[in-house]
């Protein structure tokens, strides 16, 4: 019986038979459909996904004419901390554009949180100005709302991670609501400074990393940014396949935020005025790549079907069907990309 090389969600190599791959594809599709209450992939789509997974060759590519654009999260830092090449960030922007062929990159600081960036904004704007002078592609500025940074002892509000285990639910909720106000103020401040420095857009990365209040901070900041700087693009990136209910009752536009999956997250991002939505689907390290990518494509297809703005799927370590390993293996990365674009109808990565 012939077997195909693929990987598990932790990146380790594994050989699977055709039957095992097909079985995992079906299980992954059903899991996503069940959790998200969304349609399953068609048999034809699952057959094509099987074909992508089992294609010969270490890497695969999309059909000619189906190429999509790419954006990034903290892209200008990655040559330094992933490849250990010490490089000034505006130069990394140019290498990304002129050597690697990136369609856009965002400049981010190592601390990668709007609260931290606010205090060093005078160091960040010159990097953006220099990059804008030399790059042709859109250059964004990116950071995370990172609501947790606003809790004591690092910030002004009570720490809900300490209050919740004590069952002080009301106090924990009030603290999160207070933190939202601080985060929105900081995000809008940084966006304004970057707009003045020539930024083409602002990347609100990993919205919801601290739960539903964190996601709300991203939405409210988007509203204010679009109101004050209508020309400044906003990329709204999610933190997970569903919004973690750290608060549990927060609503936006009449919808409870906690528990929303990508096809509903994108509608809130749209309503707030975002220009690009970054969909996230988490990788399960104990399951195979066929299971993970089938699940991811099912979520993404529902998201792109619902969206009226471009959807750029997160395809990095531990998300988008990519294994949770330090160096994502190129064999499954290219297969994930092809599947997300050709079956999931992703507008970008």
């Amino acid at each position: 019986m012939s077997e195909f090389f693929t990987r598990m969600g932790d990146g380790s190599g594994v050989y699977m038979t055709a039957e095992e791959i097909r079985e995992d594809i079906l299980k992954g599709v059903k899991d996503a459909a069940d959790r998200g209450k969304i349609p399953e992939l068609t048999q034809e789509e699952m057959d094509y996904l099987y074909k992508i997974i089992t294609m010969p060759g270490n890497i695969v590519g999309v059909e000619r004419g189906r190429e999509v654009v790419s954006t990034s999260d903290s892209g200008s830092c990655k040559m330094t901390y992933h490849a250990n090449i010490a490089m000034e960030r505006s130069m990394a922007v140019l290498v990304s554009e002129k050597v690697l062929g990136a369609d856009s990159v965002d400049i981010g600081n190592m601390d990668y949180s709007y609260k931290a960036v606010k205090q060093i904004i005078h160091n960040e704007t010159p990097v953006m100005e220099l990059a804008q002078l030399n790059a042709v592609m859109p250059v964004l500025y990116g950071s995370m709302p990172n609501l947790g940074l606003y809790t004591k002892p690092d910030g002004p509000v009570e720490n809900w991670s300490e209050l919740l285990p004590l069952a002080k639910i009301d106090e924990a909720r009030a603290a999160q609501e207070e933190a939202v106000e601080h985060a929105v103020r900081d995000i809008v401040f940084v966006a304004g400074e970057m707009y003045a420095a020539g930024a083409d857009g602002i990347n609100l990365d990993t919205c919801g990393a601290s739960g539903d209040a964190d996601f709300l901070a991203g939405l409210l900041a988007t509203e204010k940014i679009k109101e004050k700087y209508p020309d400044l693009g906003v990329e709204f990136g999610a933190a997970g396949e569903f919004v973690l209910g750290m608060h549990g009752k927060i609503e936006y536009d009449g919808a409870k935020i906690a528990g929303l999956y990508p096809h509903k997250q994108v509608k809130l991002a749209e309503k707030a005025g975002a220009n690009i939505f970054g969909a996230v689907v988490n990788t399960n390290t104990n399951m195979s790549f066929p299971w993970n990518i089938a699940r991811t494509v099912t979520f993404v297809k529902a998201c792109t079907a619902a969206a009226e703005i471009p959807v750029h799927v997160n395809v990095g370590m531990g998300v988008g069907g990519i294994p949770m390993s330090e160096i994502p293996p190129i064999d499954v990365v290219t297969r994930a990309d092809k599947a997300l674009i050709e079956i999931g109808k992703a507008d970008g990565l």
Partner: protein, 214 residues
């Protein structure tokens, strides 16, 4: 009420986050002379496992999960004296910690709440705990099992370090080790030489009980 009715009521009290009902059912179970460990493991713990599953699907949120754990704690308090006499003594002690550099402990706390219901005495060292402190606590308390949790690929190596230091000190055969946390897998446990891996809190209970008996 029959055993089945009590178990169903206990489970439902946790799912409904009804602390008063949970306590009431616990008292009734004792009055009926039922095995308190069975009521906890097959009634209340079943409720907590269902809440955990709903949480993992985004259908229940952290505040509700915390409150359901509080309801279970209140019921456990009612049954505690009976459990102490009946079951805790014959099972054993376990050290549990989130490894150094890692501050995540929600999953660990859920696992501990469930494991304790099975009569295992769990010494919770908290989060961000160095390997030396874990071993020191295991020696001090006479534990049989050491459980470690890691939520980050960058902190997982501390689970490997624990195995290495135990071997270096000639203590490896004295303890059974179990690892868990989002990036951990059975392959990781095999690679570092841990005795067991648990994917979630429910499996953690089963595996710890197996290790206790081995």
């Amino acid at each position: 009420m029959s055993l089945e009715s009590i178990l169903a009521a206990a489970k439902q009290a946790i799912i409904d986050i009804d602390e008063d009902k949970a306590v009431c059912v616990a008292k009734e179970a004792l009055e009926e002379g039922l095995n308190p460990v069975q009521v906890l493991s097959e009634g209340y713990s079943a409720g907590i496992r269902e809440i955990g599953e709903l949480f993992s699907r985004g259908e229940v949120f952290l505040p509700e999960m915390i409150l359901s754990a509080e309801a279970m704690k209140a019921a456990t308090a009612v049954l505690e004296s009976a459990i102490t006499g009946a079951a805790a003594e014959k099972i054993g002690k376990m050290i549990f910690a989130t490894v150094e550099g890692d501050v995540h402990d929600i999953g660990k706390s859920i696992a501990i709440a469930l494991i304790q219901t099975q009569g295992v005495e769990v010494i919770d060292l908290g989060r961000d705990v160095p390997v030396d402190k874990i071993i020191e606590a295991a020696e001090e308390h006479g534990a049989k099992v050491i459980g470690t949790s890691a939520l980050l690929t960058t902190t997982m190596p501390n689970q490997e370090k624990l195995e290495k230091v135990l071997r270096e000190r000639g203590l490896r055969d004295k303890y059974k080790t179990i690892v868990g946390g989002a990036p951990c897998t059975q392959r990781w446990a095999d690679k570092i030489g841990a005795d067991a891996y648990a994917e979630d809190a429910g499996e953690g209970v089963t595996k710890v009980l197996e290790l206790m008996k081995s």
